[in-house]
């Protein structure tokens, strides 16, 4: 079997695949929520090892990808201000805003610093009391607790020149939105393991029951993903729709109670816009009233920014599982990691980046049976076939004819 020799335990992988094969009687479409899982799937060719009836749809689980352009533009604006030290995780540097990115802001004199942890940003604030230090707080339920603790620490230590630009998002409302879409083809979910390490599994039974959809908490290793697929398929074939935990070594049912308590203290649930998808009710966090003074949007005036989405980027459809990356006309041509149209090509966890990085030249445009209803472009001939790292350098950013300002938001299915 192609690829299978790369598995840490090829024999076990083979057994899992055989069990899946034996169980499948008809097509099933499963969504892996997490971008880390997407990369593992594409890197190891898991989608190709599975029987053709099973289609894996890549979900919106990349925090960099779903951060709306408006928030990126606010970050760029704040980072450009004199007296500001703007701190971010490294994977935000190359995400295009309207016309530029954080890397370019730094080239133009902005004090942009990359930190490993939000606590590092707090330390920078402590060391620079005459400057305003802003941390870019994006991410899912895994990243929100560290940021919540940092704000809590800022207040405890009396550090007042620190603030958070918040764009945190929550997974369960996104699943709800995807399942509520009339275009939805997803029949089962592989839930993101590390999100559940924090939040546990109790948000999922209601979702599974309401939408009659199995949800299996799944890890990131190839064997984890195969086991997640096996359990989901077994449920689907039996007509079941339960929550199962296939990643118990890192996910207790209650998650991390201390982290959840801190989230409840520092943040409050709010509606949140997802890039390319649109606003999803209750899908995000913002700082609660008690911590309003640490909100960068409250501290800096960043309204009225002219945000322009690149019209040709279809990342919104990719993030909703409506389009595979290589089915986009821009993929590998006008959109590459060096010259990305959208965040799904920039981010290390983005689905477009995974397809580009692992050179899936052998991908069929459709899988028999499972994709009968797809009507999207299938221009596999546009796939860049150059060896990795040899594509010609193009001038960034290529976003955009400013006249073409049509946003994907509003055209979404949620």
């Amino acid at each position: 079997m192609k690829y299978i020799d790369e598995f840490q335990d090829p024999a076990l992988a083979g057994r899992l695949i055989e069990e899946i094969r034996a169980a499948v009687t008809r097509p099933w479409a499963l969504m892996e929520v997490c971008g880390g899982q997407t990369h593992s799937i594409i890197r190891h060719g898991i989608d190709q090892l599975l029987p053709p009836e099973i289609e894996l749809i890549h979900g919106p689980g990349c925090p960099v990808c779903v951060t709306p352009l408006e928030v990126i533009d606010k970050a760029l604006e704040i980072a450009s201000r004199p007296g500001v030290i703007f701190c971010s995780f490294g994977d935000m540097l190359r995400v295009p805003g309207t016309g530029r990115d954080l890397f370019q802001v730094r080239g133009q004199g902005g004090d942009v610093r990359v930190v490993y942890s939000p606590l590092d940003a707090l330390r920078i604030a402590e060391q620079n009391p005459d400057r305003q230090v802003v941390f870019f707080g994006i991410g899912f339920e895994t990243t929100a607790p560290p940021n919540a603790m940092t704000v809590h620490q800022a207040r405890r230590l009396g550090i007042r020149n620190f603030s958070l630009l918040v764009s945190h998002v929550r997974v369960p409302p996104a699943i709800e939105a995807i399942m509520g879409s009339p275009d939805c083809r997803v029949q089962g979910f592989l839930a993101a393991g590390h999100v559940c390490s924090v939040m546990g599994t109790e948000e999922y039974p209601g979702l599974a029951a309401r939408h009659r959809v199995p949800i299996v908490v799944t890890g990131f290793e190839p064997l984890d993903i195969l086991e997640g697929v096996r359990r989901t398929v077994l449920q689907l074939e039996r007509g079941e729709h339960r929550v199962e935990n296939a990643y118990p070594r890192a996910v207790p049912a209650e998650g991390n109670p201390a982290a959840r308590a801190m989230l409840d203290d520092v943040f409050e649930v709010t509606d949140r816009a997802w890039r390319g998808i649109g606003t999803i009710p209750d899908s995000g966090w913002r700082l609660s009233g008690r911590y309003r003074e640490y909100d960068a949007e409250h501290r800096f005036s960043v309204e009225g920014i002219d945000t322009r989405e690149p019209a040709e980027c279809r990342s919104g459809e990719v993030l909703q599982g409506l389009l595979k990356p290589h089915e986009c006309e821009a993929f590998g041509t006008t959109c590459t990691p060096r010259s990305p149209l959208g965040a799904t090509m920039v981010s290390s966890e983005g689905a477009c980046a995974a397809y580009y990085l692992y050179r899936r030249l052998d991908l069929p445009a459709t899988k028999p049976g499972a994709r009968a209803q797809r009507t999207g472009a299938q221009n596999t001939e546009s796939y860049d076939t150059a060896p990795r790292g040899t594509e010609p350098r193009s001038t960034r950013p290529q976003t955009a004819d400013p006249q073409k300002t049509a946003s994907l938001e509003g055209s979404s299915v949620v």
Binding site: R113, V114, Y116, P146, M149, R156, F220, R393
Partner: protein
């Protein structure tokens, strides 16, 4: 960024009222906050995300996951120099001042 990485606790200490540890991620050593797993002890493994320990993990699972993330290039992504990477993506030599990415790492 959303992926958490397993690491092994080397030392634990209380610093300014905050429980902290030094943690080894397959050779890269970082400071990690233990406020969400306060009873974690030296020698134990935990899933760590952006400097915070979030859940315990057994040694075998930790080792396998670290190997996987290294294969996927995710350790480099998490711990490498992002300025260099961003400059590399632009196809030119590193043109930013040295030090910023490293100064917060110990």
């Amino acid at each position: 960024m959303c992926l958490a990485v397993p690491g092994r606790v080397l030392e634990v200490e209380d610093r300014d009222g905050t429980r902290m540890a030094t943690v080894d991620f397959g050779g890269v050593v970082k400071e990690v906050c233990l406020e969400y797993l306060p009873d974690l002890k030296p020698g134990e493994y935990a899933v760590v995300h952006v400097g915070f320990a979030l859940q315990r993990l057994d040694e075998e699972s930790a080792r396998r996951t670290l190997e996987l993330f290294e294969t996927l290039g995710m350790l480099q992504e998490e711990f490498g120099d992002p300025w260099e990477a961003a400059a590399g993506e632009d196809g030119f030599e590193r043109q930013v001042p040295d030090g910023t990415a490293g100064e917060v790492q110990r």
